[in-house]
């Protein structure tokens, strides 16, 4: 058997043929999309082990994205915390500055192989939008990105970047004007333009097969981490910590470790202004099972089943749902899910700048905050890997505003 995208451990036999992870996942979509999802599932099923496709994907990961990304020993942060060795998986060093590109390269290649000349994407922080616009330019595809009008305001730098890349950025003014509304709008576009359009979903959510294929494309993070950790430290990490919005960077780094029971897998959700205030975006910490955007999963909803508005300082985590595989991993207790509030994330953001000279994305700062605390309670011969999923250049305006500094 030749190489294939994703990995094939026993636990990774999920999802089932109908896209289920336990009771989660599935394909809750309008009938118009069923044929397109069948087409995508079949195309991916064929291409994931197609030597030409796999070679092209890996070549671009290496020469375009710049993989593999380092597994960096954060020595001064480790000293400061005084416990386990802290290693940072440097997804922030990827081309376009986050893990999102791993998935976008894969899906743009799918679009190309499937003969779709146009791609659409939704974006929250703008990272997935930038990554989608980037691969669209790279492969000569027409690109439209849907973004909540509130997010457009928070992330003007990325908006301009997408425009430089030739993408059309469409503001979404319905609902809460954030990521969830952008996703709904992208689905509407796809319904209307399904013949010539490929929808690049940015996270491990959405209808089957998206959660599976995004996970597979992102699992390169975990595969490299495992290899690097074994090569450099001759052991597996004792814990892996990653932030969870939709959950793609977390799923990417967790998945190759699912069967290594001795490795704790910890997803960090945004507690926003505090879980108890209700102003958060942490469905796994405090949510209920429901159906949104094509899949069954934990959601933030009210007693009538209406989706609740979310809050997080990081636009990329500001989503009321989460990938269905995370919901399943929570229920079977293979992964733990915790939360970090805005203040704790901001502290970790500053700390990494000062101690390591690394500017993390506010999203990743949630993982850093929890990971560093965790390390402080562990012994020195143990290892905590924190997925540094993106860099924080995009967050400089937000930070400057908090600090009362005017930059133009």
């Amino acid at each position: 058997m030749g190489k294939a995208i994703g990995d094939n451990t026993e636990v990774s036999s999920m999802p089932t043929a109908d896209g289920r992870y336990g009771i989660y996942g599935g394909r809750y979509v309008s009938e118009v999309l069923v044929a397109a999802l069948d087409e995508l599932r079949d195309a991916y099923g064929r291409l994931k082990s197609d030597p030409g496709f796999v070679a092209e994907y890996e070549r671009d990961l290496k020469n375009y994205v710049g993989r593999e990304s380092p597994l960096y020993f954060a020595e001064r942060l480790t000293q400061e915390m005084g416990g386990a060795r802290i290693l940072l998986k440097r997804e922030d060093l990827n081309h376009t500055g986050a893990h999102k590109i791993n998935n976008c390269i894969g899906q743009a290649l799918l679009a190309k192989y499937m003969g779709k000349p146009r791609v659409i994407a939704e974006t929250g922080a703008g990272q997935h939008g930038v990554a989608s616009a980037t691969v669209a330019a790279r492969f000569g595809l027409k690109c439209r990105v849907y973004m909540g009008s509130d997010d457009i305001e928070r992330q003007s730098l990325n908006v301009y970047r997408m425009k430089l890349l030739g993408a059309e950025v469409v503001p979404v003014t319905t609902g809460s004007k954030t990521l969830k509304d952008a996703l709904s709008e992208a689905m509407r576009d796809w319904v209307a333009n399904v013949d010539d359009t490929y929808y690049i979903i940015g996270t491990v959510a959405g209808p089957h097969p998206y959660p599976m294929l995004v996970r597979d494309f992102q699992s390169v993070i975990g595969k490299e981490t495992k290899k690097q950790c074994l090569a450099d430290y001759h052991q597996l990490p004792n814990a892996i910590v990653a932030c969870v919005g939709g959950g793609s960077n977390a799923m990417g780094i967790f998945h190759p470790f699912l069967e290594d029971d001795e490795v704790r897998l910890i997803g960090v959700e945004p507690a926003g202004k505090g879980i108890e205030t209700g102003m958060h975006a942490a469905p796994l910490s405090k949510g209920e099972v429901g159906v949104l955007h094509g899949n069954k999963t934990y959601l933030m909803q009210d007693e009538d089943g209406q989706i609740l508005p979310t809050h997080s300082i990081s636009a990329g985590l500001d989503y009321p749902g989460v990938g269905p595989e995370h919901s399943w991993l929570k229920d079977i207790k293979r992964a733990e899910y915790v939360s970090i509030d805005d203040k704790q994330a901001l502290h970790a953001f500053r700390q990494l700048n000062l101690l390591e000279g690394i500017l993390p994305a506010l999203e990743s700062a949630h993982a850093l905050a929890y990971g560093a605390e965790l390390a402080s309670k562990m012994s020195k011969d143990e290892i905590v890997v924190i997925n540094l999923s993106g860099r924080g250049d995009k967050d400089i305006p937000t930070m400057a505003k908090i600090d009362g500094i005017s930059i133009s």
């Binding site: 809750y28 009938e31 118009v32 509407r188 333009n193 955007h293």
Partner: protein, 271 residues
């Protein structure tokens, strides 16, 4: 026999086609919905499609999205919507009412509870936009146990094999979505719709109606030439948007539009 099959049988006997208007429950204010339902029946509606407000109406175009938002400013819930049907039933025992919406409020309420409440209130069927039959197995059992119909959508992208499966799953009628797109999208090519509809007809033993793109008497009449009924959504909901501060004007204008469609459809099917 369900109220829906009875209604189609009766229409057939009269050589008429079904006119099925759609409104969102609670739009623009909750106390208004039952009144407009009765008015639509008076002006010639055969079946009422009542939208259940949802915060993320993924498959709707701008007009109906905003209607959901208007209803939700009054926190109109699935429970409230069912209550409106109960109120409607107090004086109308015959006009079928189907609930159209998204699955999450039903997930939250529970399938059994939903089926029981809906049946008791006099709801006849459910049409869930984001639940293809594969995802609705358990819900369907609960609904059928209460004698409620489940209506599924067939799309222009649906393959023949799947169309046969969907038609076999539908009860009451099958709903053909005339275009790839959201509700209220641009004008449809009626010739294409007719050709596709006539092809799909072989797969269904129950009536098949057309929805999406029907906006006035002329388009409703054109659909009546080949289909068993026409669903009208955005054109009606637009009237709500235009007159949201003056509900009485809505009743009048909605009544006029329904009447215009009824008249145009009857000229075609009877004539």
């Amino acid at each position: 026999m369900s109220r829906i099959s009875d209604r189609f049988k009766q229409l057939k006997a009269e050589n008429k086609k079904a006119l099925i208007p759609y409104v969102v429950a609670g739009d623009p204010v909750p106390e208004f919905t039952v009144k407009v339902m009765h008015e639509m029946v008076r002006k010639g509606a055969d079946i009422i499609e009542l939208g259940v407000p949802f915060s993320e109406p993924e498959a709707e175009g701008a007009v109906i999205q905003v209607a959901h938002e208007r209803a939700l400013t009054h926190n109109v819930s699935l429970r409230d919507t069912i209550q409106m049907v109960a109120e409607f039933r107090q004086s109308d025992k015959n006009t079928p009412v189907l609930l159209m919406g998204y699955i999450n409020p039903i997930e939250k309420m529970g399938y059994e509870e939903f089926a029981k409440l809906a049946k008791t209130a006099g709801v006849d069927a459910s049409l869930l936009v984001n639940v293809p039959p594969e995802e609705g197995v358990e819900l369907e059992i609960a609904l059928h146990k209460q004698g409620l119909d489940t209506i599924y959508l067939v799309a222009p992208t649906t393959t023949d094999a799947r169309a046969e499966y969907l038609c076999g799953k539908s009860r009451g009628f099958t709903y053909y979505v005339s275009l790839k797109g959201t509700t209220g999208a641009s004008t449809i090519n009626m010739g294409e719709v007719e050709a596709r509809f006539n092809h799909l007809k072989q797969f269904t033993k129950i009536p098949m109606v057309v929805g999406f793109g029907i906006k006035d008497g002329a388009s409703a009449a054109r659909v009546a030439e080949f289909a068993d009924g026409s669903v009208v959504g955005s054109a009606i909901v637009q009237i709500f948007a235009d007159n949201k501060d003056n509900p009485n004007a809505i009743i009048e204008s909605v009544g006029e539009l329904v009447y215009e469609m009824r008249t145009a459809m009857d000229l075609v099917s009877v004539g």
